[in-house]
Amino acid sequence: MVQRLKEVDVVVIGVGMVGSIVAKELAAAGYKVVGLERGEPRFTVPEFQSPAIHDELRFDVRKALMQDNTREPVTFRNQGSQLALPVRRWESFLPGTGLGGSMVHWNGQTYRFQATDFQLATRTRERYGKTFLGPDVTIQDWGVTYDDLEPHYDRFEYLLGTSGKAGNIKGKIQPGGDPHESPRSREYPTPPMKEHFSGAMFRKAASSLGYHPFPQPSSNLSQPYTNPEGVKLNACVFCGFCERYACEHYAKSVPQTVILPVLLANPNFELRTGCQVQRINLDSTKKQATGVTYIDAVGREFMQPASLVITSMFAINNIRMLLLSGIGAPYDPAKGQGVVGRNYAYQTMSTVASFFDEGIIVNPFMASGASGTLINDFAGDNFDHSGLGFIGGAFIGAVNTNGRPIQYHPVPPGTPAWGKGWKQAVVKHYNHTVMFSLHGSSVAQRQNYCDLDPTYRDAWGQPVLRITFDFPPNDLKMAAHVTAKAVDIGKAMGAKQVVGSPRTGPYTVTQYQTTHNTGGTVMGENPKTSVVNRYLQSWDVPNVFVIGASNYPQNASWNPTGTLGALTYWAIDALKTKYLKHPGRLVSA
């Protein structure tokens, strides 16, 4: 029997980064907000404390903080002609679960996208011509500009306390920062992290080649910081257990350390954990949401009526929630019509390993998730793509996030994969190898999309999400080009051997790359090619807002979290100043 609950103003589905921020703002504005979180409540104390939190087997190999794919898997295939199979072990990407969401296990790399990224289709046409890209590439403009988002990027970075060095403040280039960045209104809230030896070598070599190295913006903090919400964070200790782990030191900016203490203290907010939302309920016109239906941890079914529903789940789960609820037309790749699931994109990761002899000691275990040294000279549209046959790029950086014993063993090609020879090579190279990360953009392509799987269902009997994805040729060309540039930097560092590994196809879901799944509920100005308008409001059901990296029409050369934080505050601003005063469509279709 379904139990009908008392109506509230707002239901937030997923209490991660986006959900915590939205709920905090709306509860503070006086609205009754219920946050539904499928996972468990968890806090820095006691859940994240050492030594248990440094269990590499449990968290790194067995992915203890991730979505339970025995109950809620996704299926995957490279091509529409193939049979999709369930992903039984997370490898390529790692969607989290539980209070605080995926951000709990992030690395803290906090970027802004550049002004050109938000008008990628227009920019590409204007700079390289209408026929530069083939018809299968479905990139499009975002419907917002960098200038729209700048105040919201700023607010998000000051919420997190991000440690970095500005490269461009109000148009004035700042020494030591990234000269390619779009203008920011002020300096980062805290100074950059300490530079690793590998970063120092990278800086010297990149400078000698005429590039522009800068410190990676980090939300593992360089010094204690009290954010505008009054919540205090500590400085990072460089323990090397950021990504895939939670931070025991209150030093990584996650909902628990930046906003949940404020949200949970507000009596207008109620957190319910262990709640698996089944669908957003619509009225008979299908144009208005009436609330959500969820099943709690002991299997009881509830209907929670609400005036406003906000889906703030991990990107792929936002897509699935709309499909399960019948909101928006599902995308059909054969016809190129429909919108939900369209423009699913990812990230095109390549690496370069520079092997030194014993005289160079890099101590990879002294690390934070975001204390590298980078260049943006080959990211985005920061270089001329004429004649190259691709768009996009990658940042290149000596980004040393960890030297953990089970997972980190750089060895040169030709090393045996196991046994004595392998062990000897690991000992020889562990402390004398500099790894570069090449963090590449990802264009949307007609054949890449998400829909509901026709065969597999989750533990509650609902169809799981099916992902169909392979690397677009555009991105593989980009990876080859940028990797060659990065190899030159490795050589300029004086390495004995430099090994470039550009990303090649086909995409495999069984090898870790990055948890930057984007698209599927993209934002835009045209309801025929977007799921939500520029304020992240559903075109079809105006009292549903969808907020996530699923809003990105395609993915840029940087980690997506900073931009998602900016979009979150952008949408909150529209909710508070426009929608909640006059509920209805904010943009006419």
């Binding site: 806090f43 820095t44 104390v45 006691p46 404390q49 050492s50 030594p51 360089s222 010094q223 204690p224 205090k232 500590n234 400085a235 990072c236 200790v237 025991e248 030191h249 209150y250 203490p261």
Partner: protein
């Protein structure tokens, strides 16, 4: 009591011990594996580096050499403030500081039980702070950095287990009050500033009571 002991120590230190340190160390580095303390250190830190709890002088036997060396350097440079130790440290050359640190790191000393052991409630609170921390106070577990059971992590954090409760409490207070600020990134200050006086006594008493198993 402490207030009465401290000026006397300061006087002794100022008048005679600096010369004694210089004489004992000479120009060469002392042997790191000697089990006898260098005479002037011995006056306060004990013949085996066991410390002098009543005077808030820490046990340094078996303490991490990296940690001890950093403290001597910090006393010499002023980022750790203590008139007695500053005088000593400034009188030493850098190799002499390294050698002293190595010598005490190699020593062992018997555990000295606290004269007034903590009560059950105090031990329980101390155990909680040591192992788990306190989310209400936003204090993380001490053992995160100071190692399992507070035994220390060789290159980064000193042992707490078996350290004198009196010294631990005064060290925490020094970080709280800002008279000690040689913690990179304010790592100590930002944690202990959340502790009230009874928490300080509890966690100090807890670690002070742990030593029998550790030393």
């Amino acid at each position: 009591m402490n207030a009465r002991i401290r000026p006397r120590l300061a006087f002794v230190a100022g008048c005679t011990l600096i010369a004694a340190v210089r004489a004992a160390l000479g120009s060469g580095a002392p042997a790191a594996n000697s089990d006898a303390a260098t005479p002037p250190c011995e006056a306060c830190h004990g013949a085996h580096g066991e410390g002098m709890a009543a005077a808030h002088v820490p046990r340094i036997a078996g303490q991490s050499a990296d940690y001890l060396k950093k403290q001597l350097d910090d006393y010499a440079q002023g980022s750790r403030d203590n008139p007695i130790m500053a005088n000593f440290a400034k009188a030493l050359t850098e190799p002499q500081r390294s050698a002293l640190a190595a010598r005490f790191a190699a020593m062992s000393a018997p555990f000295i039980a606290q004269s007034a052991p903590p009560g059950a409630a105090q031990l329980a609170r101390g155990h909680q702070l040591a192992f788990q921390g306190d989310e209400e106070e936003r204090v993380q577990a001490c053992n995160n950095c100071h190692g399992p059971d507070g035994v220390g992590l060789v290159h980064s954090a000193p042992y707490l287990a078996g350290q004198s409760a009196e010294y631990l409490a005064s060290a925490i207070k020094a970080f709280q009050q800002g008279t000690r600020k040689n913690d990179a990134g304010q790592l100590m200050r930002s944690v202990v500033e959340h502790l009230n006086e009874s928490d300080v006594e509890a966690v100090a008493g807890y670690y002070g009571n742990l030593g029998s198993a550790m030393h």
